[in-house]
């Protein structure tokens, strides 16, 4: 059993490397496909022909004089060494910016996922168990109402009510949490303040996901509850709670987990809005600024980081499948 699991992981790791290779090609080409010349963006032609020398220098600095393959090669080597280029406005290495902002966004997304799952799983189980009753429709209706609420509306509403009116929670600001110190050694954890700061942003980001996860779990769970092994579990005389949580939840959770993994993309989009509104120094805010100032090199690095994050999270979801369902460990997936 153990070796089966290890073999499964090894197979998936090989796939992971291939996917990351493809991702690196795409992000590399992405920037090259954009209209315009980065050199021309940094030193516009309008400034006059006297800057030709500087332009040529810049072109060499950026490595744009090399062939496309040569550019890709140095790009990949750079990536492997953790060089993500420099922010042109400040001259700071982008890797430093990522180190400062990535943990903020990661923690935000983790909290949002945890909050939405903590609500969605019991609600989904209850809705499935009571499928077709008033409880079921009450859960459905209210979670869909929350899904329909755009996160910027919710963010503004929450910061107005809880923050400005009631003064219960801060509406802006950030204190380093448990993850920041691993990326940036100069950060010192202030967990209490960190969690207080993160409540509103995380809840805002989580609310819309609850309905999605709840619905997926509910429909899979309804199907699972029809299974013979559930009747057998009932015939053993074990409690309903145990049947629902120990027997039915695990085999019903795969679709929900898949979507939770793919949802990282949605969450990053949501994080941009949420971070800007709640003034969190995360990736979302950085991306927003990079788009605004057309810092393509910087943006390219963020895309790489997000793509890697996305692929790694989905690798972890695949791994979770194998933990949750022993039958998957044996399945030969085409690599």
């Amino acid at each position: 059993m153990r070796t089966e699991l290890l073999r499964f992981i090894a197979r998936r790791l090989v796939q992971l490397v291939i996917v990351l290779f493809v991702v690196s090609i795409f992000t590399f080409l992405l920037i090259r496909l954009l209209p315009g010349d980065p050199v021309q963006t940094i030193i516009p032609f309008a400034k006059g022909p006297q800057f030709a020398k500087e332009r040529a220098q810049l072109r060499r600095d950026l490595g744009l004089n090399k062939s496309l393959l040569g550019q890709y090669w140095s790009y990949v080597i750079g990536l492997l060494q953790g060089h993500l280029g420099h922010q042109y406005s400040s001259g700071l290495p982008v890797s430093t910016l990522v180190d400062q902002s990535l943990p903020v966004s990661l923690q935000l997304m983790i909290y949002a996922q945890v909050i939405s799952l903590v609500f969605a799983i019991p609600l989904g189980i209850l809705a499935a168990y009571r499928a077709g009753t008033k409880t079921d429709s009450a859960i459905n209706t209210s979670s869909f109402a929350l899904l329909a609420l755009p996160n910027f509306v919710l963010a503004l509403f929450l910061s107005f009510l809880i923050g400005a009116k009631l003064h219960w929670l801060p509406t802006a600001g950030y204190a380093p949490g448990w993850l920041d110190q691993f990326f940036d050694g100069s950060q010192h954890m202030q967990l209490g303040q960190h969690l207080t700061d993160m409540i509103l942003p995380s809840v805002t980001l989580a609310v819309g996901q609850i309905a999605v996860y709840m619905r997926l779990l509910r429909s899979d769970m309804i199907a699972t509850l029809q299974e013979n092994f559930i009747t057998l579990a009932k015939a053993k005389g074990i409690t309903n709670r145990r049947i629902l949580w120990r027997h039915a939840l695990r085999p019903s959770s795969l679709t929900m987990l898949t979507v939770a993994g793919l949802n990282v993309g949605t969450l990053i989009g949501g994080a941009i809005v949420v971070e800007v509104i709640y003034d969190l120094p995360g990736m979302g805010e950085k991306i927003f600024q990079a788009v605004e100032s057309r810092s393509y090199v910087e943006l390219q690095s963020y895309v790489v980081v997000i793509a890697v994050l996305f692929v790694v999270v989905n690798f972890l979801v695949d791994f979770l499948y194998a933990v949750l369902d022993p039958r998957i460990r044996r399945a030969r997936t085409p690599a």
Partner: protein, 356 residues
């Protein structure tokens, strides 16, 4: 422990009906069934698909879904009425007093739970034992259902075992808490022919060793022939013939029982002999025919059968009951059959099948 009345029958079912509410109307899946079963005895329930035998066993155990199901009548276990009990109250009985082996072992075990856990969770629920004791019990149960290397199997998942092995696991689960009453719902239908007899013998052996009563549900008269003390033949949600096994085979009265027996292939027939079948299908249980439910398919059918439903009447041998106006082997029955042959009258269902 409720060992209060060791003298009375273990299970008494009186006038049990189970109706399903569907969009088409009320489906009378079980309709006025009465039976009793003594400790250590085996009752075989026989009928074709859709005759209500599976619903009957699940109705007795109260394992049907709550919504859309209406049960009435009485089910007594050791004299205690259990029909009106809620699922919560039934939990004391499920697994501990009465257990069930299901038809399809491939889908009856939880695919994501280790076999050991699936056995011990019931044990831990009903008996106040330590985890270690429960594990040892599970191992000895696996050994008693003749699973090789029981200790190693505890840590395995169902998909690592064959169908026959999985059914043995299901049997071990059913036996785990020492129930007094075991329902075996077509326990070998989904298995390879080669292991069917092994599994049935295993169940019979464990039943004798533990002095359990058993309700053996099957569509195959051959399965219950050597194993049941009594046989109840079901048709359209009713018991149409009920007798001690010897009496039933020696002196069956109900044409349906006769037809079931005739449809078993026989070894001494030439190969390529056409198998006997019962023409037509069981009746629609939403709008059952007014008279005898089997009349449309019966070789003995007369005017009276279509108009008037025969009651369950006692036969000559003690414990023999059947529903028929023109029973097999009686002068009335012979006359009915002869008249049908003379007049070229065939059962309605057979006539329809002939046209099709």
């Amino acid at each position: 422990m409720a060992a209060a009345q060791p003298s009375g029958p273990l299970l008494e079912v009186a006038d049990l009906s189970t109706h399903f509410e569907t969009s088409r109307g009320l489906v009378r899946a079980v309709d006025g069934v009465s039976l009793t079963l003594d400790r250590g005895k085996t009752l075989g329930i026989v009928g074709e698909s859709g005759s209500g035998k599976t619903v009957l066993s699940r109705s007795i155990m109260n394992l049907l879904p709550k919504r859309g199901v209406v049960r009435s009548g009485s089910v007594r276990l050791e004299g205690n009425e259990i029909l009106p009990l809620s699922a919560k109250e039934m939990r004391r009985y499920w697994g501990a007093q009465m257990a069930m082996i299901f038809q399809d072992p491939m889908t009856s075990l939880n695919p994501v739970m280790k076999i050991g856990k699936q056995i011990t969770e019931a044990v831990r629920q009903h008996l106040d034992v330590t985890r270690q004791y429960a594990n040892e019990l599970a191992e000895s149960l696996l050994a008693s259902v003749r699973i090789p290397e029981p200790h190693a199997r505890l840590k395995e998942y169902p998909h690592q075992l064959s169908g026959g092995m999985r059914q043995r696991i299901c049997i071990a689960i059913a036996l785990a808490c020492g129930p007094k009453l075991l329902f075996a719902d077509e326990p070998t239908t989904a298995l390879d022919v080669t292991v069917q007899a092994q599994v049935l013998d295993l169940i019979a052996h464990q039943q004798a060793e533990r002095f359990m009563a058993m309700v053996l549900v099957t569509h195959d008269l051959g399965v219950v022939a050597g194993r049941a003390d009594e046989i109840a033949v079901m048709y359209a949600g009713r018991i149409v013939e009920h007798a001690p096994t010897g009496v039933l085979f020696a002196n069956m009265k109900m044409p349906y029982t006769e037809a079931l027996l005739a449809s078993i292939p026989k070894l001494d027939e030439h190969s390529h002999t056409r198998l006997a079948t019962i023409p037509g299908r069981p009746p629609d249980l939403v709008i059952p025919p007014p008279g005898c439910k089997f009349a449309p398919r019966c070789r003995y059918v007369q005017e009276r059968c279509v108009q008037e439903e025969p009651p369950l009447t006692a036969g000559a041998a003690p414990g023999h009951e059947f529903r028929c106006w023109f029973p097999v082997g009686t002068p009335e029955g012979n006359e009915a059959l002869a008249r049908n042959e003379r007049e070229g009258r065939v059962p309605q269902a057979a006539a329809l099948a002939g046209h099709a």
